[in-house]
Symmetry: C2
Subunit: 219 residues, 2 copies
DNA sequence: TAGATTGTTAATCGATTAACAATC
DNA sequence: TAGATTGTTAATCGATTAACAATC
């Protein structure tokens, strides 16, 4: 019939967690229905954007009434794939790695870091936020055995490629790379490069635009 | 003359740090010039995308030769605003906050967290990664005095609005919010909502697409 | 000179915005 | 019934992709 994999929109995926977090707050207050205009108002978005996004995830509302909050949460969770639990491994138990290991947002959205690896042998055998840390030498065997598909890289840039190679050898299909280094990977492996600096620059540019908009009256 | 604030493209801003990191590696090897096709190949991007992005930041190359690597790095740094140093404050010295305070990527790209605040008084007076931690009660005065414009929020969601209000009272113009909570702010304040889960979902969706593409021969 | 690579112009695609009919 | 809000269709805008001329 149609395409085997539903098309997805990156801008929408970036907005959906915002809706989700807001709707969780709403449901905690006991509110049962909400309109797209209300959501838009609270999140400083255009109401049409919200309506389109909700349409995209397949949510159904009723004119005049709006959407059932629980339905929206389910539709978003479903679209984002948060119903099932996906297991991850992490390599590089430094500051960033430890923070990710302790991040509560993963569990809430169907992700679980089940093992971590670090080059420093003194860290092996310990556990961080309840997640066991192993020596890198055990990486390939363990990841293979657990059939993990996603690996997180939080090592310094000069070690990133080496770690990526090990993960690939272990059969990983996706790499979430927090190290500012370009990775060479085979065609069947996906890489998501993460660099939070982008977000900070976007914030700055928005501030500049806003400030300029205040200074000039019109045109 | 033209618009007072240059237009900016969010997709481009998200790609530029990748180029920058890669070019830093290249320059470290002593290579002096590079072509857009080479950059594209290493970063798994379409060469045309790279060419367009470099055009956007105002880089000039020479046919047959390519671009001078140092020129590219400068052009990108310039476009991203990394030449000058911008000061930030952070509120919420937990795991994530500490990781951000220790993140070397800030200094490299013109950002500096100059002070942090935490509700827990036991943390006051200490310093994390060389950054002093103060009680929240000192936030408004100190931020006003230092004339900081950007605040990072890494507190639990239920405290986020309260912290945002303090930052706004202190004259902040931009909030980088890592807490999954919708913030109410006045019109002259920009908010950049951060949720790394989006990136993980994008990675997953890309993996699914890739895998589906392998399974079906064509159509 | 020949060819690789840039810079530029045009075409396509997708996302956002707008308009409006359907409906509770 | 009247009006608010959804769902849908159309228009605009911007980003990506393609084609090609300019040039070192």
């Amino acid at each position: 019939m149609t395409s085997p994999v539903k098309p997805f929109s990156i801008p929408i995926i970036r907005r959906l967690p915002e809706y989700h977090a807001f709707l969780e707050q709403v449901v905690a207050k006991g509110t049962e229905t909400i309109s797209s205009t209300t959501i838009a108002e609270f999140l400083n978005l255009d109401p049409i954007v919200v309506r389109k996004d909700l349409e995209h995830v397949g949510a159904l509302g009723k004119p005049k009434i709006g959407f059932v909050v629980q339905d929206l949460i389910s539709a978003i969770s479903d679209y984002m794939g948060w119903e099932r639990v996906d297991e991850l491994v992490l390599v590089g138990v430094g500051d960033l790695g430890s923070a990710l290991m302790g991040y509560a947002g993963f569990a809430k959205r169907g992700f679980k870091i089940v093992a971590a690896f670090d080059q420093m042998l003194s860290k092996s055998g310990t556990s961080v936020h309840g997640i066991p840390v192993f020596p890198v030498s055990k990486l390939v065997n363990l990841v293979k055995r657990l059939r993990i598909e996603i690996g997180i890289i939080t090592v310094p840039p000069n070690a990133a490629q080496e770690v990526a190679d090990l993960l690939i050898e272990a059969g990983i299909k996706g790499i979430w790379n927090f190290s500012p280094a370009a990775l060479r990977v085979p065609a069947n492996v996906s890489v998501q490069q993460e660099d939070i600096i982008s977000s900070l620059v976007i914030l700055q540019k928005n501030m500049q635009k806003k400030h300029a908009g205040i200074n000039k009256k019109e045109e």
